[in-house]
């Protein structure tokens, strides 16, 4: 069968909403795009452990400490499923991780912002996990089977995290004047970076058209961003807080909220490595990996010796 026919069959399957599975024929670009996207998602989970892990030792109550630790641990679990989903496309976890460390692979830029107060744990849960969920709920219907299935589980846990984050902000919003100020400050700092998480405007996004055709993506960046903004405007009222955008206004014609200009210069600076914590985040991941070399070698050596002893016996 010619490649042309294979491609047609592949597209027919996608159009018929049949999932693509690891052993199916797929265009090389589809494989590459999925590797890029799934590994980027995996790295985001792992790097994303750092800003929140930053507050585990300082959590203000034992209950909050347990909740936060469990949450960060869930992210490690998500990383694990996603690296496994990526492996089904023929790339090992180690190769994928090397790409992160060399800077060839990206992770979500949001994690290059610092967590400066306890309220950031709530704001990250509400806004960052909230934005991630918008994207990920869409991706549970993505065309690549292993990724779609991993996302079903991830989404359940993420929406739990988002509720926890919101609940923790709710407690602050009903607390002392200092706690309320902490809460508002965290929302002010995380709002715009959260909106940038959906990626560049549709008119500037390079990967969108093909990804929509292959149903890797099913909604555009701008559609998802608008959906998120509409949701948050309602939720922030429950907190008695405000969103830091004077241009937010209901537009009855569009049936959506209008919003102010996003600072795309800042977005691209952070993507390029000039965000407040890019160096620290990558350095922490490399350090953990390098410090772990001897541990992984020891585990492998022991496993080999054990197998050899069993064979000899």
């Amino acid at each position: 069968m010619s490649v042309h026919n294979l491609e047609q069959l592949f597209q027919d399957k996608i159009d018929a909403e049949i999932k693509i599975e690891p052993l199916d024929w797929m265009p090389e670009a589809y494989r590459k795009t999925n590797i890029r996207q799934i590994s980027q998602h995996a790295h985001s989970e792992i790097v994303g452990m750092l800003p929140e892990g930053n507050w585990i030792s300082r959590a203000p109550s034992l209950k909050r400490k347990a909740i936060l630790l469990a949450k960060v641990q869930d992210e490690a679990g998500h990383g694990l499923y996603l690296y496994s989903a990526c492996e089904t496309l023929g790339i090992s976890r180690e190769e994928t991780i090397n790409d992160l460390h060399s800077g060839r692979a990206k992770y979500s830029s949001i994690f290059n912002y610092p967590t400066l107060s306890w309220a950031d744990m709530g704001a990250v849960g509400w806004l960052v996990d909230g934005a991630a969920i918008m994207n990920q709920v869409m991706l549970t219907r993505t065309s690549y089977g292993p990724y779609a299935r991993a996302l079903v589980r991830i989404c359940k846990e993420e929406s739990f995290h988002q509720r926890q984050g919101f609940e923790s902000l709710l407690v602050l919003s009903r607390g002392s004047a200092e706690q309320r100020a902490m809460c508002q400050d965290a929302i002010n700092r995380w709002w715009w970076p959260a909106l940038m998480m959906f990626g560049p405007r549709d008119s500037e996004s390079t990967n969108s058209d093909q990804s929509m055709k292959w149903k890797i993506k099913r909604k555009t960046n701008d559609e998802l961003r608008q959906q998120f903004i509409d949701m948050c405007v309602d939720q922030v009222k429950l907190l008695g807080m405000t969103l830091p955008d004077p241009d937010l206004k209901w537009n009855a014609d569009r049936n959506h909220y209008d919003f102010g200009a996003i600072n795309w210069d800042e977005f691209w600076q952070v993507v390029k490595g000039n965000g407040p914590c890019n160096r620290e985040r990558l350095q922490a991941r490399k350090q953990a990996w390098e410090d772990g070399v001897w541990v992984r070698e020891a585990a492998a050596a022991h496993a080999t010796k054990k197998r050899e002893r069993a064979n000899a016996a």
Partner: protein, 246 residues
Amino acid sequence: MDVNPTTEFVLHLADNALILGQRNAEWCGHGPVLEQDIAISNISLDLIGQARSFYQYAAELQGNGATEDSLAYLRNERQFRNCLLVEQPKGDWATTTLRQFFFSTYQQLLFQQLLSHSDERIAAIAEKTLKEVNYHVRWSSEWVIRLGDGTAESHRRLEQAIQDLWLFTGELFTSTHYEIESGVDVALLRSNWEEKIRSNFEEASAEMPTNVFARTGGKTGLHSEHLGFMLAELQYLQRSFPGCEW
């Protein structure tokens, strides 16, 4: 500290769990491989859960509006009753896993003894917790063997960790007044503990230290310099914003 011996004993159990939980949590996001990052965070979570059970009971015993959080967040270094072993820095993976093995093996033996303690609440927490502790012993003992048997470097690091930590193990079996007055004899646990460690060390081809001085003090509130820094971090928000709900 003017508290009754049972309360002090329960606080000792709680402090042990909290401080080791806090130490192990330092690995979260920095583990040597993802699966083990998850495992050590899990152990940390179990320990924080144990600490909460014991603090809740201590708060009831103490009355006067004490809560799990007032006990964890508003006592000073000299009031903490944890052993010195748990407050030592996390060190490398050999130090962390060996400390866990020493401590969990001790906890396993202690909680087995506590199953028949006359205080039903202590017995009940011990019973609930033993299931987790059994897993901690299995996980950490396997790591000790893996590192002892693995490579020359892992073996050397394990030996170093033994050197560094052994002097803190004697305190686990040195009775305090509150243990004795609570009807608990930790000295009785020692020979079984040593037996378990010895058999594991044999598999790991590691030497049992002999004639090592036992450093004590933590259990009666005389700690190393490490604890103050840990509490400064742990208690920071409660101290900075007193009386808030979180």
